[in-house]
């Protein structure tokens, strides 16, 4: 800590008793602290979810493996999916939105700071509820168990007859509670973006980051709530003897599928749009050019949001819908590819003619572009319904959506960590460890998920705890598992980088990347009030205007 003393005045880090500091964190309503809480919380669950993934991969390394029982395996994939979507991806993206949106629009906090804290703690307790099921799923008197119904929890597998005990209830309650938290955060982001912008920050001048999080929040309002409604119905079925999804009483299993996927598919976009937001900040800064086609990027995002709400039943091509319904959902699903493609082109357009600096953040952004391209193309294959009849529910579809979630969302997220860590902590992340992290993760990712497509094409269904030796899936699965472990090592390097750079990283200064948005105009980390005087802006890149008074953006917009 001796190097600190030179640069940071000692009074800044006046030591308080740890209880006081803990109390400050627990009772905080500051958007930056809550953002950090979200991110740390999500990273913790990332380790849980990753651990579950590794158990799955050990079990599948070879046929007829007995590493875990089928019961444990089923819990692992259920918990892995639920954890990664609801308690890693959602909170970490909300965390960045919480931290960055007010800074980027020149505000001192979110619109509703207390609602913000409430939302975070709802989500936090949701995750605890989910994991408490390991102890309490069958009641504390017996061996507990975690939910094992898959993260879609298709009816009637969740009915009391097929899912006794309380594990499914913990799953339902965890998602219901964290869902309310997400809705609270979404309301907060919308109100913040619409009502808290600093003078001059018109909607047309907002950083794309704020725009995309606004659109994402709007989607949360409309699409997360159907899941909450369906969860309430499931609880009514399980506790009050209702018949919503009870086939014996005329209830419909298909109705649950519709309700779940009305949420489930837009959810993918709720996760990917904030990743687009990261991309739209990182790519321009490291290409040294403004984002290409800003209005088109906004329009494409809004377009994605709308179209993505009418594609849900492409998860249900095998359910036996009419050929007209199948055709409808096939074309809407393909249509989503158009605005998404436009976005990819615009990022390439941003890089085109620039001077790309290959910092770790940019490497991850480029990795995103490459993988998201492939994920989009396998998505087109899955959108062609007849092809989907073969591919869905197989390892091909697993590979596809991990390409989206890991190759896309997680890569963009890693980029965001390398990009904003200096702002959040005041320290640079180690570029040397960062390069190790990037290359190892990239290799692990491709070894794992490129190969994973193939067993799907060879007929391997998802969610099986073991398989027959005569199917020719053994070698492929072994390779996939090796790739998973390489990614695991890369994640550990990343976590080590986060921890060690916090103590030993180079001083970041206000603006280490020579960037253009308002968060880089204040100190790193920003003071509690963000800005001593509220900024006034005249263009989309206020700091560019400041650094280039002879050629400000405001002349061109």
């Amino acid at each position: 800590m001796s190097s600190n003393a030179i640069t940071i005045p000692a009074l800044q880090v006046q030591e308080k008793p740890w209880v006081d500091r803990l109390h400050e964190w627990v009772t905080t309503v500051d958007h930056k602290r809550l953002g950090i809480l979200y991110i740390v919380y999500a990273l913790t669950f990332l380790l849980f979810g990753g651990f579950e993934a590794l158990i799955i991969r050990i079990q599948l390394m070879h046929s007829h493996s007995n590493f875990v029982s089928p019961q444990v395996f089923n819990r692992m994939f259920t918990m892995h999916g639920t954890t990664m979507i609801f308690f890693v991806a959602m909170p970490v993206l909300f965390g960045f939105a919480n931290y960055m949106v007010p800074l980027m629009i020149g505000a001192r906090d979110m619109a509703f700071p207390r609602l913000n804290a409430f939302s975070f703690w709802l989500m936090a307790f949701g995750g605890l509820l989910l994991y408490f099921s390991f102890l309490g799923g069958s009641g504390l008197y017996g061996a507990g168990n975690a939910p094992d119904v898959g993260w879609w929890a298709y009816a009637p597998l969740t009915a009391r007859a097929f899912s006794p005990g309380h594990s499914s209830d913990y799953w339902t309650l965890a998602l219901l509670v964290s869902g309310f938290g997400s809705i609270g955060t979404a309301i907060n982001i919308i109100a913040t973006v619409l009502c808290m912008r600093c003078p001059g920050m018109k909607l047309t001048r907002m950083p794309l980051f704020a725009w995309l999080n606004l659109v994402m929040s709007g989607m949360v309002l409309i699409t997360l709530t159907p899941l909450s409604a369906a969860q309430i119905m499931l609880l009514i079925d399980r506790y009050l003897g209702g018949h919503f999804f009870d086939a014996q009483a005329g209830g419909s299993a298909v109705l649950w599928m519709h309700f779940f996927w009305i949420f489930g598919h837009p959810e993918v976009y709720i996760l990917i749009i904030p990743s687009f937001a990261f991309m739209s900040e990182i790519v321009p800064v490291f290409s040294r050019k403004p984002i290409f086609g800003y209005p088109v990027m906004v329009a494409a995002t809004v377009c994605i949001a709308f179209v993505s709400m009418s594609v849900w039943a492409h998860h249900m091509f095998t359910v036996g819908m009419s050929s007209y319904a199948n055709s409808f959902f096939a074309i809407t699903s393909m249509m989503v590819g158009i605005p998404t493609g436009i976005k990819i082109f615009n990022w390439i357009g941003t890089m085109w003619g620039g001077q790309i600096e290959f910092k770790t953040a940019m490497l991850f952004a480029i990795g995103f572009l490459f993988q998201f391209l492939i994920a989009g193309l396998t998505g087109i294959m899955l959108a062609t319904a007849p092809f989907d009849w073969q591919l869905t529910l197989s390892y091909f579809v697993i590979a596809h959506f991990h390409y989206v979630i890991v190759g896309g969302i997680l890569f963009a997220l890693f980029g965001a960590f390398y990009y904003w860590y200096p702002k959040i902590t005041g320290r640079m992340l180690s570029e040397r460890l960062g390069k190790w992290h990037f290359w190892l993760f990239l290799i692990g990712f491709h070894v794992c998920f490129d190969v994973m497509h193939i067993p799907g094409l060879l007929g391997m269904p998802r969610r099986i705890y073991t398989y027959e030796p005569n199917r020719g899936w053994d070698t492929l699965n072994l390779i996939v598992s090796i790739g998973a472990f390489i990614q695991g090592i890369a994640i550990l390097i990343f976590v080590w980088n986060l921890v060690s750079s916090y103590f030993n990283g180079a001083e970041a200064g206000n603006d280490p990347w020579d960037a253009w948005t308002l968060e880089w105009s204040t100190t790193s980390p920003p003071p509690a009030y963000n800005f001593a005087t509220l900024p006034v802006v005249a263009s989309r890149r206020p700091l560019w205007d400041l650094k280039h008074p002879e050629d400000p953006d405001s002349l061109y917009e």
Partner: protein, 198 residues
């Protein structure tokens, strides 16, 4: 800790942004609408699919009086807000209390209907699909009325203590927005359950 560089930009002449409480409430209403939509869809989807009785035709009676109560409470709360805006404290207090009374009457109506259905017709939430969807849809609405009444009552208590000032009319209007939403949902629920559903 000097907050560094502020871009040297002229302050725009006028800079007004929407009222954040209203934006927040509208967002909440959008989210709530989606929840109600799902319950309404479930109700409509399961119309006539119950395997056993009773059916809506046999047991439901249209609650016209209580519907009038609830819908007119939208008017009273609106004029309560206007009274506060003009600083007519007495009128505000009276109209606000009337709103709570009308909302309370509506809840009593729902309670009486449920009592009749349960004890006279033996229809509970677990009887058949109609029971399941009916009680959850109407119950979800009644839950929102209850939540609204609690919030209205809190405001009433503050008002009685003289803590609700003229300049707070926008906050009161935000709450009124929620109450209008609850009424609007009832129009939908009423149409679906008592008109389409029979």
């Amino acid at each position: 800790m000097s907050a560094a560089t502020i871009p040297p930009v002229e302050m725009p002449q006028s800079w007004t942004l929407p009222y954040r409480a209203k934006v927040g409430m509208v967002s909440l209403i959008i989210a709530e609408s989606a929840i109600f939509t799902i319950f309404v869809v479930a109700y409509l989807f399961y119309l006539g699919k119950s395997i056993s009785g009773p059916t809506p035709k046999e047991v439901l009676e249209t609650p016209i009086f209580f519907t009038i109560c609830l819908l007119s409470s939208s008017l009273t709360i609106h004029f309560a807000g206007r009274s506060l805006e003009r600083n007519h404290r007495g009128a505000f207090l009276g109209l606000w209390a009337l709103t709570i009374l009308l909302g309370g009457l509506f809840l009593i109506g729902t309670g009486m209907e449920w009592h009749r259905l349960i004890y006279q017709h033996g229809l509970t939430i677990s009887t058949n699909l109609f029971g399941t969807t009916y009680y959850s849809l109407v119950g979800l609405h009644a839950f929102h009325v209850t939540a609204g009444l609690i919030m209205l009552t809190i405001v009433l208590l503050f008002a009685l203590a003289g803590k609700v000032q003229q300049d707070q009319f926008r906050r009161v209007d935000t709450l009124a927005l929620y109450w209008h939403f609850v009424d609007a949902v009832w129009v939908v629920v009423f149409t679906v359950v008592y008109i389409v559903g029979r």
